[in-house]
């Protein structure tokens, strides 16, 4: 409860100009009224049967008592105290406990026309005393009268009732009580008995309409004296923790943009995003015609997320949890193990089960309770079954914002009809997405092949090339598309081209090897011959040296013999020693 209170308080602006307001604590309501209901004044809540008037009033009281320390009195003219306690128990409101703690007083006013005989003058002082007593007993600041119109049915004299109602509302104001008065919608008027005549400060209209067999609840502030307020019709939900008003247009773009990346689970797809995958906290939309493998890409992403040990929420609008696990086994992805480990939660419902607001709200509850790092919605386009496109977009915008504000990476798949212009999905949400991936079936040469391309990816370089997308027993992978002679080859054509290429590569290699062998042989032969020549040359050279030595020796001998007589004659004394040496 403390967490909830904190969250609620954030929604209430710190300074509220103009009149003082009493925060209701109803999710989203204080946002559109910039603070809550006018404090110390009565507010009229009107609407047709079953539109949630009593519940709104009850939540206002319960939240007031539990969150804002403002005890309250619930004066019911329709349901007994016991019935009220039981009806709101499912929302987690324990009225008996609050009554015991003197935070809330339930007072059931029963009027049976048949039991009452009227004679002469009277007033409704008894009602005032009862209300006054209840207010005093717990020091109440808030009052609910649900629905006071029962007085018109129960009391014969309308004149008196009207006069007394006027006095009652004045009494409420004088006592500074913030009050909700509920009233049944009349034909052409806000309330059947014209209560709006008396309660002029704030009027809220609740509506419950059915379109395309799906009901949506809407809330509109008809008037709010002395305060600015949202004028739109806001969808609201009655969930299992009370009312949530969804103020689509008041959401701001304030989310952080993380820079770290998460893998898509397909290595070759990550490569297309500069090798690192998607940004954490970004929104990715997979567009594709039937059977292009959107769910398989999504499953790979889920698998990769769980493998990292992060939690993942898979919202499936087409297949049941079991079916998804079985089908993904066929491409070698075992999602069952992650479900068992509690890392993966599969939320499978039919989109037509409730209105889009309800889906959104449920998703929000799941996100809040499960706190996943990644949310995968497969397929988003099925939601459009339950509502027209123009209504879908704002809600999806809110969904994307909800996930972004929590830093959750979101992957959506969307079905587009075959042959549709891929870049513009029919729900017109591509502008909300950070990354758009298109999956196509290309039919050529009597076969279908899947082509994946990245249409956009904000804030990162990404491949501009289409890849062939292959689902195998071992998962999903991408193959570069072959372009040969300006023809795109995919599927069998690519495979056969590649096989042919492989074969011709083999042949070339063989030829090259043969050539190499032949060259080697030739070289060997030449080398042998070179060796032979060299040996011959060497022999020749040896012969030459021998001859030279012989000639030199001969010369020496001859010189010696020529010099010898001179020596003997001692004619040349200078050289005597040398010659002696030589000899």
């Amino acid at each position: 409860m403390a967490k909830r209170q904190q969250k609620r308080n954030e929604l209430v602006p710190l300074t509220v100009r103009g009149i003082r307001k009493a925060p209701t604590g109803v999710e989203g309501f204080d946002q559109i009224t910039s603070g809550g209901l006018p404090q110390g004044r009565p507010t009229l809540v009107c609407g047709s049967a079953g539109c949630g008037k009593t519940l709104l009033a009850m939540e206002f009281l319960v939240r007031g008592a539990t969150l804002f320390d403002e005890p309250g009195v619930f004066m019911s003219f329709e349901e007994s105290s016991q019935e009220l306690v039981e009806n709101v128990r499912s929302m987690g409101f324990d009225l008996s406990d609050l009554e015991a703690k003197k935070k809330i007083v339930l007072d059931f006013v029963r009027i049976e026309r048949e039991e009452v005989e009227e004679t002469g003058e009277y007033d409704l002082e008894g009602l005032f005393i009862r209300l006054g007593f209840a207010v005093q007993s717990i020091g109440a600041k808030r009052v609910v009268l649900d629905t006071i119109e029962a007085l018109f049915a129960g009391l014969p004299n309308e004149m008196i009732v009207r006069a007394e109602l006027r006095r009652l509302f004045r009494w409420l104001k004088e006592n500074g009580l913030t009050a909700i008065i509920t009233g049944e919608q009349g034909t052409g008027t806000l309330t059947r008995h014209g209560l709006e005549e008396y309660v002029a400060d704030c009027v809220i209209l609740l509506d419950h309409r059915v379109s395309e067999q799906v009901t949506t609840r809407r809330l509109r502030i008809v008037k709010y004296r002395g305060s600015s307020h949202g004028t739109n019709e806001y969808p609201f939900l009655i969930g299992d923790s009370g009312i949530s008003v969804l103020p689509i247009t008041s959401l701001r773009l304030e989310h952080k943009a993380p820079t770290d990346r998460v893998s898509s689970g397909i290595a070759s797809l990550d490569e297309m995003f500069s090798g690192e995958g998607f940004y954490r906290g970004s929104s990715i939309l997979l567009l594709g015609s039937p059977g292009t493998g959107k769910s398989s890409v999504a499953a790979s992403f889920v698998d990769a997320t769980c493998r990292r040990g992060e939690r993942c929420l898979l919202v499936a609008y087409e297949e049941s949890s079991d079916q998804i696990v079985r089908n993904m086994h066929s491409i070698g992805i075992d999602l069952g193990q992650w479900i068992d480990q509690g890392l993966l939660r599969v939320h499978a419902t039919r989109p037509t089960l409730y209105g889009l607001e309800m889906h959104l709200w449920r998703l929000r509850c799941l996100v809040e309770s499960f706190n996943p790092a990644v949310v995968v919605i497969d397929p988003l386009s099925n939601l459009s079954l339950s509502m027209p496109a123009w209504e879908l977009k704002p809600t999806l915008m809110q969904l994307v914002d909800l996930l972004k504000s929590r830093g959750i990476t979101a992957l959506f798949t969307s079905l587009v009809s075959e042959g549709a212009f891929m870049e513009e999905p029919h729900i017109g949400i591509s502008s909300l997405m950070d990354t758009l991936i298109s999956l196509r079936n290309i039919e050529a040469d009597r076969e279908r092949n899947r082509i994946l391309s990245v249409i956009k990816s904000r804030g990162m370089t990404h491949s501009n090339q289409a890849r062939e997308f292959i689902l195998s027993n071992n998962g999903v992978y991408l193959v570069d598309i072959r372009v040969v002679e300006e023809k795109v080859l995919i599927g069998t054509a690519r495979a056969s081209y590649e096989a042919g290429e492989r074969a011709s590569v083999g042949l070339r290699r063989q030829r090259a090897e043969r050539q190499a062998r032949r060259t080697a042989r030739k070289r060997k032969a030449i080398e042998t011959r070179i060796a032979a020549f060299e040996a011959e040359l060497e022999a020749e050279a040896e012969l030459e040296t021998d001859e030279a030595d012989f000639l030199a020796a001969q010369e020496v001998a001859r010189e010696q013999t020529q010099r010898l007589p001179g020596q003997l004659r001692m004619g040349d004394t200078g050289e005597l020693l040398d010659q002696k040496k030589i000899t």
Partner: protein
């Protein structure tokens, strides 16, 4: 007294005792008129077999819830059951008697 004896003989259930409760809020003119009217009617038609309890809600506000009191003044017939309520200052005797389910005894016979 005569009235009582005479009428009791003619009533279908003569032993019935009327236990009445008049809710008022302070000594307002309307309350006083209502009490005076009630007293007169009872004396006239139910003499000796009625009792009136006046509850001032200003003094005992917690009692308003029990009998589902909204209008002031309100006369509640606690007995004989079922409970019946008459709101207003009880100025129309005939309607009071209808409301209390007291059968009118023709006055001639009694006289």
């Amino acid at each position: 007294m005569k009235q009582k004896n005479g009428s009791s003989g003619d009533e279908a259930a003569p032993s019935e005792v009327y236990s009445l409760r008049l809710y008022v809020a302070g000594q307002t003119p309307k309350s006083l008129i209502a009490f005076a009217n009630l007293k007169r009617i009872c004396e006239q038609h139910l003499a000796g077999r009625y009792c009136i309890e006046v509850i001032d809600l200003i003094l005992q506000p917690q009692l308003a819830k029990g009998d589902q009191i909204l209008a002031i003044p309100t006369l509640v017939r606690k007995l004989p059951s079922p409970m019946r309520k008459i709101i207003g200052d009880l100025s129309n005797e005939e309607r009071v008697l209808v409301g209390l389910d007291v059968r009118l005894v023709p006055k001639k016979i009694i006289a």
